[in-house]
């Protein structure tokens, strides 16, 4: 079972390495969106420090949304998705591999860049650590839930926007617990509660979402 997941991850990573522009642009989108907020609300440090967790998380959600269509659309276009569905393995396992690969190239980099941007917002060191950890912990859930949306909207016109419409409401719990963890740390209350809830969400998503996505893919491949 792990062999097929590893094979799919390996394949997707190799493809991602040969098409780095896509990944890098999504990361730059993250940076630009975060930088827009101070320009919009003014540079006052107290205000920015308060806004920071929410702003960083919302930007992370949007950046993930940008990279989601890539998950299945490319494979669908050249016929390889069909072959994946015809492989003698449960499609849910294949999707699990794709979701993990997606997280490695889109969620993980976000977690690495976020603390740097957090400094721009004058967050304390404790807050930065919790922020990084929270994004690291929460982005797999974003990839998992997003996969369901990507599978449902496969090949539809208006794909990207429609995908956002479907997936963003489902992202709200991750947003609340993720930003809440940092807020709680800043307020001196400790973010453990939020982080554990976030972890629960992520494990539940990685466990169940690939199977829902597989069902959605089968519907789309009819």
């Amino acid at each position: 079972m792990f062999k097929i997941i590893a094979a799919v991850i390996g394949r997707d990573l190799k493809l991602a390495m040969r098409r780095q522009a896509d990944i890098v642009s999504a990361l730059f989108f993250f940076v630009i969106v975060v930088s827009l907020f101070p320009l919009g609300v003014g540079p006052e440090p107290d205000l920015l420090r308060k806004l920071a967790p929410g702003v960083l998380w919302v930007a992370a959600l949007l950046s993930t949304m940008l990279s989601l269509p890539r998950l299945f659309a490319d494979d669908h276009r050249d016929g390889t998705l069909e072959q994946l569905a015809l492989a003698p393995h449960p499609l849910g396992l294949v999707v699990t591999g794709k979701v993990i690969a997606h997280w490695l190239v889109s969620g993980l980099p976000l977690a690495l860049i976020a603390p740097i941007l957090g400094i721009q917002f004058d967050l304390s060191n404790d807050a930065l650590i919790v922020l990084t950890f929270a994004i690291l912990l929460g982005t797999p859930a974003l990839s998992g839930i997003g996969a369901i949306g990507a599978a449902l909207t496969l090949g539809l016109r208006g794909g990207g926007v429609l995908l956002s419409l479907l997936v963003l409401p489902l992202y709200i719990p991750v947003l609340i617990f993720g930003a809440g963890a940092v807020d709680a740390t800043v307020a001196g209350l400790g973010g453990e509660g939020h982080l554990s809830l976030l972890a629960a969400l992520t494990f539940a998503s990685i466990g169940f979402a690939p199977w829902a996505s597989a069902a959605a893919l089968k519907i789309a491949l009819e």
Partner: protein
Amino acid sequence: MLEADNLECVRGERRLFAGLGFRLEAGELLYLQGKNGAGKTSLLRMLIGLLPPEAGEIRWQGTAIRTLADEYRANLCYLGHLNAIKEELTPLENLLAAARLAAEDLGEDEAIDALEQVGLAGREDLHCKYLSQGQKRRVALARLVGEKRPLWILDEPFVALDVAAVDWLAGIISGHLQRGGLAVMTTHQPVAIPAGRIRELRLS
């Protein structure tokens, strides 16, 4: 042994066919014919298990394919209109990846040999995006060389091939049938397959 029983197909509120059945034994080729839009591709998609029929059942070795699921797909090789190759990978990488996904053993030498057979010798290490359309199609066809899975489902495999390639592919299919394989094929051009028993099914 592939068996279809009382199949019905409804696409977009229109019934394409109903009560369709056939039986295919080892060494036989089923030649699917019919006008465009008659339901040939839909029938193929039912046979590969991606499209659930509105009614009826498809059986492999006596068991319904819906029950067999993974097991059935382990016996299946499908070649559709799309090439199913990644442009960022080389032909060699594509073949090896496809084999790995199908849980098949394919050595690098065998893969290179297959590519040579389809006329891509010397181009194994070029990223596929630099190949012409015809060459990309041949990478897809190279999968059939040494393909051990017994059931081949081919959707218009001869399209856009030159005379030599048509002969080559007909030979590959014949060899497969002679080894006891089964094949279901749609094609608009009449092609002579030297060996194997041919059955025809016309959709109207």
